[in-house]
Assembly symmetry: C2
Homo-oligomer: 188 residues x 2
Amino acid sequence: MRKGASGRNELIAAIAEVFRAHGYAGASLALITEATGLGKGSLYNFFPGGKDEMAAAVMAHIDHWFEDEVFSPLRETKNPQEGISRMLAATDAYFHSGRRVCLVGAFALDDARDRFAAEIRSYFGRWVADLAGALRRTGRQEAQAERLAEESVAGIQGALTLARAFDDPDVFSRTMASIRERLGAADI
Amino acid sequence: MRKGASGRNELIAAIAEVFRAHGYAGASLALITEATGLGKGSLYNFFPGGKDEMAAAVMAHIDHWFEDEVFSPLRETKNPQEGISRMLAATDAYFHSGRRVCLVGAFALDDARDRFAAEIRSYFGRWVADLAGALRRTGRQEAQAERLAEESVAGIQGALTLARAFDDPDVFSRTMASIRERLGAADI
DNA sequence: ACTCGTTTGTACCAATCGGTACAAACATCG
DNA sequence: CGATGTTTGTACCGATTGGTACAAACGAGT
């Protein structure tokens, strides 16, 4: 890797955008070559496993980012309401306020789900479980916390879909505001 | 068409399942041939425009079904609460209680969105607008009705994503129950 | 039985797919 | 400078892609 230690992360980020825009099947090596400026020789040098390994690396990269910025604040912040606020802010930033799509969600719909079933399940599973944990710590009952967490994550995913469908990021912002309210309101 | 008038609808339904399972890019003619039992000769006889026309026919087919079973009850049922109930029941039936995926939603994420932007926007637009109309007729204020409708449709889409991700249709059923409650509760 | 339009299978096309091979160009370090 | 391991571009591979051509098989009407 020529460009120093951060080169691989930037490379993975560039590849991620291709998968995001075209899905697994639609992300051809030609598109990846174009997006990264790297020929097939380099690509297969960094990812000997080919397209599959590239997608796996992208998934792992996303997973780490969410673990650090979204999930772990939910678990480890002393004040659960602050953890929830941090997760909402990070989520909003990550999805560029609705202009960006969730690759894991897109893979879940597509037949890439079979390939990455474990990673997809783990990603959403931790999101829901960690949010439910924070909600419990605000005083909510377990069943209610679980349901609210599930609905919130689903709401975020659905809002991303609708924002893309309408080509209108405001849909996402409005839904995020509403979710923030539902999650914040009662700490009964 | 040999098999009578309903043959085309069945053909479109079979093709729809291929797009649903593999996305636009992943739905190869080989898969469509296999799923329909029809050779390329027949396929291009019925859809001279090729894959694009097949996808367009599938989209139109879905659009008509939702118009008849989901949107129009929202607009035309005298009692708006009954219209909402009918739309929820039809939605649950269509998505096989969470075991089936929303093709329009999947296309919205994928790069098929560019091809079918108008159809996708119209589909979700009518869903939200007609639901908001019914909510207004229950006595809600316009702004609140609009927001609730948008969140409900987003919630349905997100629940489909999560149900696929967890491979657990119950996620969808739970979310649908919760949406039913939110939509039914107050007719203030 | 004969015709006529539809439906079907097969063979074929150029383009692109993901992937491999490998030698030239490179950076790094003694 | 020379040696060594990494990075890169190019050429190539068989398989598959979406799409076309077309003659044989078919069904319905007379």
